[in-house]
């Protein structure tokens, strides 16, 4: 853990301006909204000690999260290349005051540019490297994700302890949503943060003091819903799910206890059935992995606490259960019937649901913790002093032990699964830039994506560092499946027909088979060999 902290500090000291800028923009929007709402709601002001601890928690989280950047040369996985391109193009557009003309041409049909716009502003404002900005901003956003959860739980329970517990769960309880940075899911992570803000504001507004003008609050809420959609369009679906769940939870609470428990049973059974369906389908089974495999003990703790929460905060528990039900169901609801342009997509996709499940679970945990602490206060048979001791011990156990064990087991560094670009690739890119003609075409490894279990593949994505070649060397690339057979005459013929000059072999598991290229020295000449990156020139076209 100390090493993580030192690595984080090292990144912070090397990128302090970008980090401060990222912290600034992250806090500004959130802070401003809550500042405008200050005094309008019946919320108790947070004691300054708790506020200080919250800032400490956020700063410490930022430092720990920044350790991720020590082992990443570029943002991970294939999505990040597109983020880099969009940020670069937005920077150029901002510099040339051609933003309005540029936005429609960036990527037709792809419109959630909020994260890219924010990164472009920081890049431009700080004269920073966009790669560093994306990496650092992503980690700062990740560190900020637990903060609105703190406010949500505190608003509901008036317990700082429970709010901290919920925030720690959201940040470090499971490897999601943090692991999503390995997938380059920066817009989705930013969307989650804004979604939490929307939910916090939506929860606070009905609690406005009587007679207060609600216009500012409602305008703020609408503004944040629009911003949230710009950051990640699917958050709009989650906002609708949240509002529907909150209203339905209120209705449930107004029913008799028997009916409430009957409905709760039906909902839990439906979640179980949906969970089994998810587990049964290989394409969806990974959804629950962070919460059932490594995170099973945390999830079980939350489930036990949920029982206590059910007694003290039934509406909150009903909301979380309805929320889980709807996001599971959204995995199976196809949008193709009413939105033909969106192909085989479902209302929510597997990675997003996997990232999102922490939200209801953290809230359940926080409510449960508050319920437990309230329960301790109600045991009148125990003398006051012993009750206080038990309460203190519980707080130490809940926050101290839990947070320490969570953070000790948490992996703050990038996963091998998705870190495409390594040292050798950076050398190979530079070598390609200096030693190949500007119009050279390079073949890079790819694989097909699948959106629905039964649906056709909709696009190809890069599977090694070759995907960064256009962005970093300006050379044109062409995808080919990483399992392509280079010994086949048909393959050589196809490559020659496409006028491809070079083949790039990266260092991931899903790279081209270099052994096959070496089997055909008359067709492919090895021109650069590094331990984890190679470049071959296609020389066999003249022999066809």
């Amino acid at each position: 853990m100390w090493q993580v902290f030192l690595d984080g500090c090292s990144v912070l000291s090397e990128n302090w301006s970008v980090a401060l800028g990222a912290i600034g923009v992250t806090c500004l929007g959130c802070g401003l909204s809550f500042f405008l709402l200050r005094g309008t709601t019946r919320e108790k002001t947070i004691p300054w000690q708790s506020g200080f601890l919250l800032i400490f928690f956020f700063v410490a989280s930022v430092i720990l999260r920044l350790a991720f950047v020590t082992e990443t040369l570029v943002p991970p996985y294939f999505d990040s290349v597109e983020h880099f391109r969009l940020v670069n193009e937005l920077v150029t557009a901002l510099e040339s005051s051609a933003l309005l003309e540029t936005i429609p041409t960036l990527t037709p049909g792809y419109y959630h540019l909020g994260f890219h716009f924010l990164a472009a502003l920081l890049t431009l404002g700080l004269h920073a490297d966009p790669i560093n900005v994306i990496l650092v901003l992503g980690q700062v956003i990740l560190a900020a994700i637990p903060i609105p959860i703190f406010f949500l739980i505190r608003s509901k329970t008036q317990s700082n302890t429970a709010a901290y517990f919920g925030a720690i769960l959201a940040g470090f309880g499971w490897y999601m949503p943090g692991f999503a940075v390995n997938w380059g899911k920066y817009p989705a992570l930013a969307g989650l943060l804004v979604l939490e803000l929307v939910l916090s504001l939506a929860y606070l507004i009905p609690r406005n003091k009587p007679g207060r003008n609600q216009t500012v609050s409602i305008v703020l809420l609408i503004l944040w819903i629009i911003i949230s959609t710009l950051f990640h369009s699917r958050t709009l679906i989650v906002i609708v799910i949240s509002i529907a769940s909150w209203i339905a939870a209120g209705k449930m609470q107004s029913l008799s206890k028997h009916i409430q428990y009957l409905l709760l049973g039906i909902l839990l059974a439906a979640i179980l059935v949906l969970g089994l369906l998810i587990q049964k389908e290989p394409l969806l089974a990974l959804t629950l992995e962070p919460y059932l495999d490594d995170g099973i003990w945390v999830t079980l703790t939350v489930l036990v606490l949920s029982l206590i929460a059910l007694i003290k905060f039934p509406r909150g528990v009903y909301f979380c259960i309805l929320f889980i039900f709807w996001i599971f169901a959204a995995l199976f609801i196809s949008v193709s019937d009413w939105l033909p342009g969106f192909g085989n997509q479902t209302l929510l996709d597997r990675p997003f649901v996997e990232m999102l499940l922490y939200l209801p679970l953290s809230i359940l945990g926080g409510l449960g913790a508050a319920g437990f602490l309230q329960f301790l206060n109600t045991i009148k048979a125990i003398p006051e002093q012993i009750r206080t001791s038990i309460r203190a011990l519980s707080i130490i156990l809940l926050i101290g032990t839990f947070s320490i064990s969570s953070m000790m087991n948490y992996d703050f560094y990038p996963s091998d699964c998705c870190n495409f670009v390594r040292y050798d690739d950076t050398i190979a890119f530079d070598w390609l830039d200096r030693n190949t003609p500007p119009d050279a075409r390079v073949l890079i490894a790819s694989t097909q994506m699948h959106v629905l279990p039964s649906g056709p593949s909709e696009a190809n994505v890069g599977t090694d560092a070759g995907i960064w070649i256009p962005a970093l060397t300006d050379r044109v690339t062409t995808f080919a499946p990483f399992g392509i057979d280079f010994r086949s005459p048909g393959t050589l013929e196809g490559l020659c027909k496409e006028q491809i000059n070079y083949i790039y072999v990266g260092g991931t598991d899903q790279k081209f088979n270099a052994a096959q290229l070496q089997e055909k020295p008359d067709w492919y000449e090895g021109i650069l060999f590094l331990p984890n990156a190679q470049v071959y020139q296609i020389t066999g076209c003249t022999k066809l």
């Binding site: 902290f5 030192l6 000291s13 090397e14 400490f56 700063v59 294939f78 999505d79 597109e82 792809y110 490897y175 997938w183 089974a285 990974l286 962070p290 192909g343 996709d349 597997r350 990675p351 997003f352 699964c417 040292y423 050798d424 950076t426 050398i427 530079d430 830039d433 790819s446 994506m449 699948h450 959106v451 696009a459 190809n460 994505v461 890069g462 970093l472 690339t477 995808f479 080919a480 499946p481 990483f482 399992g483 392509i484 086949s488 048909g490 393959t491 050589l492 491809i500 991931t508 598991d509 081209f512 088979n513 052994a515 070496q518 090895g526 021109i527 060999f529 590094l530 331990p531 190679q534």
Partner: protein
């Protein structure tokens, strides 16, 4: 009010930790002074300048791969001591990753021992030395005798069908196996 000392202590811990680290960061180090640094492989001891390994360009050129965490070590050239005389290696910093440096020169046979003298380009001073065995480990160059790790997935090949336009298109939201978890393989 009883909590104030605790909170101040927490803040001090955070600040002290960071300031201690800042002292260790490259910006805080002094410019190198004689005698020259003795360098080793980066995976043994990462330092201001370390050796990542060796590579090959074609069949007769060798690349010496360095990592210069301290950028003042990045602008260098290398001389290799040989009984027949010195061999010079021209070095380049990677354009996008200037801490990554590679030097190009005449190839040495695998397993040969070479002494690297690393000079600063700015004042031609000797800034680092190191003795290494040339190993093209992991390299699958035709004239190097070792195998390459072949992923299982590539065992069954398929003929080439070009599948992309020059610029990568933004993918639709995909599913497994495109987004592996930490415990699953890609």
């Amino acid at each position: 009010m009883k909590k104030i000392p605790l909170l101040v202590l927490l803040a001090l811990m955070l600040l002290t930790g960071c300031s201690r680290e800042a002292e260790l960061t490259p910006e805080a180090t002094q410019t190198p002074a004689p005698p020259p640094l003795s360098i080793t492989y980066c995976d043994i001891a990462s330092s201001d300048l370390c050796l990542e390994g060796f590579g090959q360009e074609g069949e007769d050129k060798m690349l010496i791969l360095f990592k210069a965490d301290d950028r003042s070590f990045a602008d260098i050239y290398v001389r290799v001591d040989q009984p027949e005389g010195e061999v010079a290696f021209e070095c380049q910093q990677s354009k996008n990753f200037p801490e990554n440096v590679y030097c190009l020169g005449e190839a040495f046979p695998s397993e040969s021992s070479i002494k690297l003298d690393i000079y600063s380009k700015s004042d031609a001073s000797l800034i680092a030395i190191g003795v290494f065995i040339v190993e093209y480990s992991g390299i699958s160059a035709p004239d190097v005798d070792f195998g390459i790790d072949t992923p299982e997935a590539t065992a069954t090949g398929s003929p080439f069908v070009p599948t992309s336009t020059p610029k990568p298109t933004y993918p639709n939201y995909p599913n497994y196996p495109n987004y592996p978890n930490s415990t699953s393989t890609p």
